[in-house]
């Protein structure tokens, strides 16, 4: 199927009344929950997951994608108005975005973010439409060795981009792999780490763990500094960028989009990397680098464009290889599996309506965001200022119901409580959970691909180095590891990541 007939199929799928409606609902709910301070995309998606359960697969996926964009965009609104980044990738948005808000230019900062995001979203969607079919057919030629190396690259990228030390991140990833091994071993049928409990035979539900660590863990951490929470929300006045703003943000949006599209495909943590590098790039090429950090509109437009472009293109490894690039994508895979869909290269040939419907609704979702967010910004600002002591019991209830409804099993609720406590301690111990989450879903895949590789090669591990693609991937992974030793990269990493906490 060529791209045009694909897109037409996609349009006919995405614009059926119910799919369109659920896309809209997803974007609206995603933004509404995403603007709430302290709720990143992972917590937002897991809270809103039950809303997709009764739906047909394509509608559910479209709505999930809508929730994902909405929560991303809601996160930047909170970052600009309140100086509270919902997740690491919107940290850079706070630097200039909140500075602009303090100068009374909140509306223009929000508009710059919205326009940048929309443009980037459009380009990102086109990029998916063009490259995903190519990559998917290419991916069908991948053997287990290539897959294993790609997984290693993904895990290493997520470790390098985690805040805190590399050693800690490595430990967290290993811990995630062990958690992923709980349950029945698909190859031998042996029950591993189940402690005799039938509830563990199917393994830990990934959504339950992510909800516990990110949803409940964040609540527990936020409750601690409840008194210290700043409740100042900047007022929003004029939403229209001035002629000068347009001139200043045009090129940065283009550059940010380019960077984001390319980096988003990288397994690991492309979205985060995209927004940081876009900001760094703008600061470098700008004629007014001294304005950065003091409310430069370029510093909002470029990272937001990069952020959103990467958020689109990070669907590519997930849809074509079945490998999640970020913790959020891992959660999306978890949600798809709940729906009975196994992402991978076959998805495009076996369920073309699902794939193209998703691609088109991504673009529609971005369009809706543009028209939804700017007019409704007053409402979002009100939502942001809801005091936390009203908010957190509601969050607890929603995540508890959400987790229970995945399997209608109270065991998942207890598990979520346990992982909430663990998530809190990880935060206290300076250990970022993102590598753990990613490793939990990638670990079992890594084991399976390793097993197949070694079975084919009769136990000879050098195949990882003799396959050119696998070798190339491992070299990139090695370079990434080496780069962290370089003092210059180290400094940038520390500067960029420490504020993410």
């Amino acid at each position: 199927m060529d791209i045009f007939s694909g897109l037409i199929l996609g349009f006919s799928t995405a614009t059926t009344a119910s799919n369109f409606l659920y896309c809209f609902l997803g974007v609206l709910l995603g933004t509404a929950v995403g603007v709430l301070p302290g709720l990143g995309p992972i917590a937002t998606i897991s809270m809103l997951l039950p809303f997709t359960f009764g739906l047909p697969v394509d509608t559910a996926l479209i709505m999930l994608a809508g929730i994902f964009y909405g929560s991303q965009y809601g996160g930047s609104t909170t970052a600009i108005l309140m100086n509270l980044p919902g997740e690491a990738s919107s940290v850079v948005t706070t630097l200039d975005g909140h500075e602009m808000a303090k100068q009374g230019k909140a509306g223009r900062a929000l508009a710059a973010a919205a326009i940048g995001s929309f443009f980037a979203g459009t380009v990102g969607t086109l990029f998916i439409a063009i490259s995903a079919p190519l990559l998917a057919s290419f991916a069908l030629t991948f053997g287990p060795a290539e897959y294993f190396s790609l997984i290693v690259l993904g895990l290493i990228t997520s470790m390098v981009l985690a805040s805190g030390s590399l050693l800690t991140a490595f430990g967290m990833a290993l811990l995630g792999i062990i958690l992923g091994m709980i349950g029945t071993d698909i190859n031998s049928g042996a029950a591993r780490y189940t402690f005799g409990s039938p509830n563990l035979l199917d393994g830990l539900d990934f959504v339950v763990v992510a909800t516990g660590i990110f949803g409940l863990g964040d609540v527990l951490a936020n409750l601690e500094n409840e008194r210290g929470r700043v409740a100042g929300v900047a007022a929003v006045s004029s939403l229209f960028p001035t002629r000068e703003d347009w001139g200043r943000m045009f090129a940065p949006i283009l550059r940010g989009t380019g960077l984001g599209v390319l980096l988003g495909v990288l397994p690991g943590a492309g979205v985060l990397l995209a927004s940081f590098s876009a900001y760094a790039l703008e600061k470098k090429v700008s004629r007014r680098p001294e304005e950065f950090g003091k409310g430069a509109i370029e510093g909002v437009a470029a990272p937001e464009a990069a952020n959103n472009a990467a958020a689109q293109t990070c669907f590519i490894p997930m849809l074509t290889l079945g490998l999640p690039g970020t913790a959020t994508m891992a959660l999306m895979i978890g949600a798809l599996v709940v729906q009975g869909v196994q992402p991978g290269p076959e998805i495009l040939s076996q369920q073309p309506a699902l794939f193209w419907g998703l691609v088109v609704s991504m673009w529609l979702g971005n369009l809706m965001l543009l028209f939804l967010n700017l007019p409704l910004v007053g409402m979002w600002a009100k939502l942001i200022s809801v005091p936390y002591h009203f908010l957190f019991p509601v969050i607890c209830v929603f995540i508890a119901i959400g987790v229970y409804s995945i399997n209608n099993n109270v065991f998942d609720v207890y598990l979520m409580a346990l992982f909430g406590v663990l998530g809190y301690f990880f935060k206290k111990l300076g250990a970022e959970p993102a590598p753990l989450i990613l490793a939990m879903i990638l670990g079992p895949m890594a084991e399976e691909y390793l097993r197949r590789t070694l079975l084919i090669s009769h136990g000879d591990a050098t195949v990882f180095l003799t396959s050119p693609l696998s070798l190339g991937t491992l070299v990139v992974a090695g370079l990434l590891l080496l780069s962290i030793v370089s003092p210059r990269f180290r400094r940038v990493r520390e500067e960029g990541l420490q504020e993410a906490d």
């Binding site: 811990l175 601690e224 008194r227 019991p393 607890c396 409580a417 111990l429 090669s457 009769h458």
Partner: protein, 154 residues
């Protein structure tokens, strides 16, 4: 050695790694060309033990961040409230479970006062959740739990 972030984290990694390696020794290890169910767990757990020991060593060599203050009250009450939610959702039904979870978790806030407003608010919220999740979204959660049904049938 003083308790610091790294000491605790190192201990945590080492203990989890050691326990999981110990359990994995009961699974057939296999050979490299035919990995048994114990092959991968032993390697990963072994690496985790080494990582844990390295983190401990790092704590020994350089002073790591001291342990931050732990807010025990929310840390105990909120997860306990969620466990209680799990315990009562099937026997008592969704509205009562929501009501309990809302009020119990809210008590951890410094701003919480148990007055009629808090109670009325959680009552409305419990009703809202029941309508939203059970009536509108059709989740198979009981509104009236099986204990209450049993009581009602007498």
């Amino acid at each position: 050695m003083k308790l610091s972030q790294d000491v605790l984290l190192g201990l945590f990694f080492t203990v989890i790694g050691a326990v999981s390696a110990l359990i994995a020794t009961h699974y057939p290890f296999g050979t490299s060309s035919r990995m048994g169910p114990g092959y991968f767990p032993i390697i990963v757990s072994g690496l985790l033990v080494v990582t844990g020991l390295l983190v401990l060593l790092r704590a020994r060599l350089a002073s790591s961040e001291p342990l931050p203050v732990i807010g025990w009250k929310p840390l105990v009450i909120v997860p306990a409230a969620i466990v209680i939610f799990g315990l009562v959702i099937e026997p008592l039904g969704l509205p009562l479970a929501v009501l309990l979870l809302t009020i119990l978790s809210a008590t951890t806030s410094v701003k919480f006062r148990l007055d009629w407003r808090a109670f009325a608010g959680s009552l409305v919220f419990a009703a809202f959740c029941s309508v939203l999740f059970v009536e509108l979204l059709g989740l198979p959660v009981p509104i009236v739990g099986n204990w209450l049904q049993a009581v009602g049938s007498y």
